[in-house]
Symmetry: C2
Subunit: 160 residues, 2 copies
DNA sequence: CAACTAATTTGCAAGTCATGCGAATTAGCA
DNA sequence: TGCTAATTCGCATGACTTGCAAATTAGTTG
């Protein structure tokens, strides 16, 4: 995601208007490393701009993605997560709290399948699944592990 | 996913019944490398067993996942894809046709983030995105590229 | 083999996430 | 200040998945 200053330029270049809603959402995403969902952003946006519509949040996020200002991340936890960092990086997903953090992996970009050579690769993504330090710590203290579910199961179970 | 022979054992071990529906779905998934959706399986299952319910397909797939016989794959194309191969392998996703193929990546299991060392890694997944040979070929022939959308956009656009 | 019963299957309702649509509003420009 | 195309908003709709309870059935028991 570009700097706030170039936002207007980016929008104009696409023949788009610079609305307050777009500015707010851009601002909320700028340098945001939490990989929020549309609902997360809607909640934050609503605090600063009561009345803003969830529809507009989705719309704006889709536009920003089309403009290449952000990317979508799907980790199978239900809702799409948005990432303003479109540079070279990867992710570590905590199977306990669902947090997604940015990580860097040396040589990831040059990874290639040992088979399937007849496939034009545009992008390589690495995802680490495991337990973040915060969860690991709280886990050792109390909280007995009730029900061992797969990551996906867990994600889906916590939906309600 | 285990051999069909051990299916009964696996089920009994979990105090479950060996129903015709479960046998059919297991059979359809066994050594299936297409990473089908629940709807895909429902269609195939319906052909062989008219009247089988989509609900049962979902239920059985969830059970098999709980039993560790298969895994879920989410590539952000809408529906969950199911994979009977729970061994060490990775995936290549065609952004054009959505096909997911199995690939192997040397050293993938030992990849580590250069940062975030305080994260217990349980699993490492690599996803290659690009264009499969079939799409690449048909692309060179006719079909002019109309509208360049991101992979996710594309997947979502083709939903309807 | 018939009865029994807990597990399973089904169909439909409901839930979640995201998009389609059209009326009301507004940014950017003349 | 006015115009107009773009945008916002709210609600309907759609795709995918799960909750629920009545009907059915696998597997056991006698
Ligand atoms: Mn990121
Ligand atoms: Mn696979
Ligand atoms: Zn965590
Ligand atoms: Zn393809």
């Amino acid at each position: 995601m570009q700097s706030p200053a170039s936002l207007a330029v980016a929008y104009r270049a696409n023949g788009r208007k610079l609305t307050p809603q777009r500015q707010l959402i851009f601002q909320l995403m700028h340098e945001n490393e939490t990989h929020p969902t549309a609902e997360d952003l809607f909640a934050q946006a609503s605090a600063q701009m009561p009345g803003i519509s969830l529809r507009t949040v989705y719309q704006t996020l889709n536009e920003l993605a089309e403009m290449g200002e952000l990317q979508f991340i799907e980790i199978g936890s239900g809702a799409t997560r948005f990432d303003p960092n479109v540079g070279d990086h990867h992710h570590a997903v905590c199977d306990s709290c669902g947090q997604i953090r940015d990580v860097h992996v040396r040589g990831a970009a040059t990874l290639r399948p040992t088979d399937s050579t007849d496939f034009v690769i545009n992008e390589v993504g690495v995802v680490f699944r495991g337990i973040c330090s915060a969860c690991e710590t709280s886990r050792r203290k109390g909280s007995s592990q009730r029900g061992a579910k797969s990551p996906v199961q867990q994600a889906k179970a916590s939906k309600k």
